[in-house]
């Protein structure tokens, strides 16, 4: 399956909009997860090349415009991923006692977000898919705390970008947009805390990161310095320069870009 075909399949109404029986829904999603994982691994790896990044940026944004239901389902998958990751982490004993309160709190938040999205989706909600947190790279986060923290940071920074990328698709529903924003900034709080626990700044400088190279797509594009058509690089030499300009604005990811990242962790 090539990437364009895959992108087409993302708008497959059978997956995204049709209320199906839970069993069928789960089966369909699992199957889709496999397809997603299959195409997204090479995509995510290849995204390190400038050519691919440019090609991704060149794709018209309308191609990714989703319905509110599709956005909520997309968000639900991400929240399931986060919730299950933290729950498995707490169950595994990999988290030192001193840090446990932080992951209990974050797990509780993600669990609440799952419940809110399920409530908003009603009959269009689905159960959690199965995840594989080895990420196709043989990672072992539930026995290796450094890997656990790194993935947690990656998931939160991805979540921030994912919600941001879908705000425009929710403009016609004030309540949903506001809920999404209220989740979005909490993901940013989580990201800041986890980044600082790993010795990074709470904010993202350019596209710098300390995650495995396979996850560079999580930060691709964060080096942007143009906002509303205004080039800000060079305007703030006495206020942290380009580094600070990129830190001051978090950048969005498209649904396809996020799915490529999340697909690494679908069983």
């Amino acid at each position: 399956m090539n990437i364009i075909k895959f992108l087409d399949s993302l708008s497959d109404p059978e997956l995204l909009t049709t209320p199906v029986s839970r069993r069928n829904g789960l089966k369909s999603l699992t199957q889709k997860g496999k397809e997603l994982a299959l195409v997204s691994i090479p995509f995510a790896l290849a995204a390190t090349s400038k050519k691919t990044a440019a090609a991704t940026k060149a794709m018209p944004s309308a191609m990714f415009q989703a319905s509110p239901t599709e956005v909520l389902q997309f968000a639900l998958t991400l929240e399931y991923l986060e919730r299950d990751f933290y729950q498995m982490g707490l169950d595994s004993g990999v988290i030192p006692a001193d840090d446990e309160n932080i992951f209990v709190l974050i797990r509780d938040h993600e669990s609440s977000h799952v419940d809110l999205l399920k409530a908003a989706l009603g009959g269009n909600a689905f159960d959690a898919p199965e995840f594989d947190f080895s990420g196709g790279l043989g990672l072992d986060p539930f026995n290796n705390y450094a890997q656990f923290l790194a993935l947690a940071q990656g998931f939160e920074d991805t979540g921030v970008r994912a919600y941001k990328g879908q705000a425009g698709a929710l403009v016609d529903d004030d309540a949903l947009l506001e809920y999404a924003l209220q989740i979005h900034s909490v993901e940013a709080r989580h990201a800041s805390q986890l980044r600082r626990m790993r010795g990074e700044k709470g904010w993202i400088t350019r596209d710098n990161n300390t995650l495995p190279p396979a996850f560079s797509a999580i930060y691709a594009g964060e080096e942007n310095t143009v906002q509303l058509g205004v080039e800000l690089a060079g305007r703030f030499p006495n206020f942290g320069g380009v580094d600070a300009v990129t830190e001051a604005f978090d950048e969005p990811l498209t649904m396809a870009e996020v799915n490529a990242i999340a697909g690494l962790f679908l069983a």
Partner: protein, 261 residues
């Protein structure tokens, strides 16, 4: 010419609305008596413009002591610009204070300096953005602030005020999102608000390291009974009232045409 009254009534008044309005009025009057620097003028005419102000008020507008945020997306951009000015000026003074200069750890110094840089960038960016769509008189002026009540030599004070400002910024952008018509503005507000959220978390953690203070139940709210897991989304009028209560802002802000839906 209608003489403007100091009030914060924005919505249509029903029988219940009147009661709310009266309470709100009394509350705000109390704030004003206590020395708040922020006034709001209200008028039955939804399209209140500067010519409806008294001659004295008009002179204040020209002198930059009073500013009307305007209406529509412009009002929201000006509102954001006001908040970013507030934050930037606060951190500028933090970096001149004894806590930052002589007491803060290297990590604390770096974080507060970054926050200063980011807020200056937000502030100056918004000025450029507003300037590209509005004539000079419609852009908020350089505001006048008074942080004399803040002891910049005291760590807890400096960080606590910073946390209030950042948490307020998050709830303000969240509450303004669905008031914006232009999706480009919505996206850029989204790019800023998550950075404010990152700030709020870092400052919260500095105040109580390793605790839940980065996203605590004191700051977050519940939605639909699913648990306390969401940042607030606060309407501009309520944010401006809260800012007024701090006494930090001397310039009077007229906010009665800021969108409410």
């Amino acid at each position: 010419m209608k003489k403007p009254i100091i009030n914060v009534e924005f919505a249509d008044q029903g029988p219940d609305g009147k009661l709310t309005s009266r309470r709100r009025f009394l509350k705000t009057t109390g704030l004003l008596v206590a020395g708040s620097g922020l006034f709001m003028y209200s008028c039955s005419n939804e399209n209140l413009e500067e010519e409806l102000l008294t001659a004295d008020a008009a002179a204040d507008v020209r002198a930059g002591k009073v500013f009307n945020l305007g209406k529509g997306d412009l009002a929201i951009l000006n509102y954001a610009y006001v908040l970013e000015q507030l934050e930037a000026e606060y951190y500028r003074q933090v970096l001149e204070g004894d806590y930052w200069l002589n007491q803060a750890s290297p990590e604390e110094k770096e974080i507060l300096q970054d926050l200063y840089y980011h807020e200056v960038i937000h502030r100056d960016f918004l000025k450029v953005a507003i300037s590209s769509v509005a004539p000079p008189g419609k852009i908020a002026p350089d505001l006048i602030f008074d942080f004399s009540s803040v002891d910049f030599s005291d760590r807890t004070t400096v960080l606590t005020v910073a946390k209030i400002l950042e948490d307020t910024g998050v709830s303000a952008y969240n509450g303004a999102g669905n008031l914006l018509e232009n999706t480009d503005y919505l996206l850029v507000a989204g790019k800023i608000v998550s950075v404010e959220g990152r700030h709020a978390a870092a400052i919260g953690d500095l105040l109580d390291p390793g605790s839940n203070n980065f996203a605590s139940d004191d700051v977050l709210v519940d939605l639909l009974g699913t648990g306390i897991a969401y940042d607030k989304a606060t309407d501009p009028r309520d944010v401006l009232e809260a800012v007024a209560a701090t006494g930090f802002l001397e310039t009077k802000i007229i906010a009665n045409n800021v969108p409410t839906e």
